[in-house]
């Protein structure tokens, strides 16, 4: 089977420093230019093209990067990822409508809330075996939704309305219909998340997660504080979900429990699995494709969850490593840093 990842990695590794910067800049330019391509074949017949770029595509990418820390890097199946998204969104909704705080001030609070709930859920749940973790997180996702549905402060099924948009910065105005501004801001958040994941993956944390994913018992017996690193993975994943939630609420200006169903968790899971668990570029690719196609092809739009379910089954059975698998290839070059 062709291994796109290896092809890509080979091109990347054969570039010098300038080549790499060039590729990175090129990719960023393409991503940043996407809002201008509405008139081309990329246009989405079902929904407004530029708003599709914001949600689902960019939002899915961000959440998929977060979930990938949990499931792809450390092998922990979290089926309640939507809970952190919801917690971020409701933090924005509540504080944005009841206090004078603006989106940028609420963002760290929302992230902190998501991380905190990640600890509350993770510390007990991560002591359990993998499949029980899946059930517990699944239940947690539902609980958060049911609580939102039944608490008066959270607006019950009507949710929260009139959430403020972010205040302008550097002269940029966030109007609710200025989708491209939101899109570019999300790109920034995505870059930040990529930076965080890449940074962590190459050092101690990355090795610890990798060893936990492959053989947790062996990891523990070779000195890896497995529980600590599992909680970290969980909490970092939650932080990204929380950030996405804050921004989502500040974009749609209206949130309700229906935006935070179990299906969202499964959709993001599908993005991660489809693209390639553990490989951040794969995950991004997966989220872009699965976020985009339902709005491009009408048939898929009607049966979007059905398609996503099929994606999960087919990928797991035929190509469990996803479109762009995690590192498989061995460096052919001799180790340059060899002492």
């Amino acid at each position: 089977m062709i291994n796109l990842r290896d092809k890509g990695a080979a091109i990347w590794e054969n570039q010098g420093r300038f080549g790499r910067i060039g590729i990175a800049l090129g990719a960023m330019t393409v991503a940043a230019a996407l809002p201008f391509m509405g008139g081309t074949i990329l246009n989405t017949p079902i929904a407004d093209y530029e708003s599709v770029l914001v949600y689902p595509i960019a939002m899915f990418v961000l959440m998929a990067i977060g979930l990938n820390i949990v499931i792809g890097k450390s092998g922990l199946l979290d089926l309640g990822y939507v809970a952190f998204f919801a917690i971020g969104a409701y933090t924005m909704g509540l504080l944005g409508t009841r206090t004078g705080l603006n989106t940028w001030e609420i963002l760290p609070i929302g992230i902190a809330m998501a991380m905190f709930s990640g600890i509350i859920l993770g510390v007990p749940a991560l002591k359990l075996r993998g499949d029980y973790l899946a059930i517990i997180t699944l239940g947690f996702g539902e609980i958060v939704r049911i609580v939102a549905l039944n608490l008066g402060t959270l607006g019950r099924s009507e949710g929260i309305i009139n959430i403020p948009t972010p205040p302008g910065i550097f002269g940029i105005e966030y109007r609710f219909d200025s989708h491209r501004i939101y899109y570019w801001t999300l790109l920034m958040l995505i870059l930040l998340a990529i930076w965080m994941v890449r940074r962590l993956s190459v050092r101690r944390a990355g090795r610890a997660w990798e060893s936990i994913r492959q053989d947790e018992d062996a990891a523990e017996l070779l000195g890896v504080p497995t529980f600590k690193y599992k909680v970290w993975a969980f909490v970092l994943g939650a932080s990204v979900g929380g950030a996405a939630g804050v921004f989502y609420a500040s974009k749609t200006l209206f949130i309700a429990p229906d935006n935070f169903t179990l299906q969202i968790s499964i959709l993001i899971l599908a993005c991660v699995v489809f693209g390639g668990m553990g490989n951040i570029w794969g995950v991004i690719l997966g989220a872009v494709i699965l976020g985009y196609l339902p709005d491009r092809i009408r048939f898929i739009s009607d049966a979007r969850l059905l398609v996503f379910g099929l994606v999960l089954v087919i990928m797991m059975n035929l190509r469990p490593d996803g479109l762009l698998p995690r590192k498989k290839r061995e460096k052919v070059l001799p180790n340059k840093e060899k002492p």
Binding site: L200, R204, E210, A218, L221, E330
Partner: protein
């Protein structure tokens, strides 16, 4: 007289109604190679599992340099100075040989997640130092050339040795080798015996489980024999071989049971 690094006192381990270890007492002395032998099911691997904290002992005590380690978290025991290899190889297959060892060297790192995220000087320094250390260990064990190969693609014999290098990565005082020669041919066994001695000469203490009697008798300074979860002999290789109880325990079992 050398001091003991690890001492098991009256260690008993029961699983439900089955007694896997019954009142086992022995010491491992600093810088010795102690062989642990016994017929199949005698409780050898159980000894490893109780020392490394996989099982919690029913009664008795296990002390590492005078401090009790029973009930401690497993990674803390490792950090305290005990590392092991596995009878059925349990490397992290999707990591390179070097990364396998580096994951183990992380045991004593001070910098954690946050330092790694922001590239703190401590983290960068430690990363560099550990990479060097890991490569040294691979060279020391004689598999330095495989550093960048994925562990699961390595030849069987190299995998077995990588297990040892990985255990050494945790900077142990005591290393537990669980049948390191399993599946080796005679030439490889001779090679392994050299490596084991080399490890001891580098200052480590070794507790060795091995089925191959000639290997154990050749490298060990002392041999402890288990039978049905009980210690039946604890002596020099020569004396153990002549011990009638040991001969009885092995009677009917071919010497080379593996």
């Amino acid at each position: 007289m050398s001091t003991s690094i690890l001492s098991l006192k009256s260690v008993t381990m029961r699983f439900g109604g089955v007694t896997a270890l019954n009142d086992v007492t022995f010491d491992v002395k600093e810088k010795e190679i102690l062989g642990l032998i016994g017929p199949n099911g005698a409780g050898k691997t159980t000894v490893f599992n109780v020392i490394t904290g996989v099982y919690h002992i029913t009664s008795g005590s296990i002390d590492l340099q005078g401090k009790s380690i029973s009930g401690m978290k497993r990674y803390k025991i490792t950090k305290g100075g005990i590392a092991r290899t596995f009878q059925n190889i349990r490397l992290w297959g999707d990591m390179t040989a070097l990364e396998n060892v580096m994951t183990a060297t992380d045991t004593h790192k001070r910098s954690g997640l946050v330092g790694g995220l922001f590239g703190s000087p401590v983290s960068r320094r430690e990363e560099k130092r550990d990479k060097k250390r890991a490569q040294e260990l691979l060279d020391f064990i004689g598999i330095g050339e495989y550093a960048d190969r994925l562990a699961r693609n390595l030849p069987y014999g190299v995998q077995r040795r990588l297990e040892i290098a990985r255990a050494l990565g945790t900077e142990p005082k005591l290393i537990l080798l669980d049948e390191p020669a399993a599946g080796f041919n005679p030439a490889e066994k001779v090679e392994l015996a050299k490596v084991i001695r080399k490890i001891r000469d580098a200052g480590y203490t070794i507790l060795l489980i091995e089925h191959d009697m000639s290997l154990v008798m050749k490298v060990s300074d002392r041999v402890v024999v288990l039978d049905f979860g009980q210690k039946i002999a604890d002596n020099t290789p020569q004396k153990v071989q002549d011990d009638p109880r040991v001969i009885e325990a092995y009677l009917g079992v071919p010497e080379d049971a593996s």
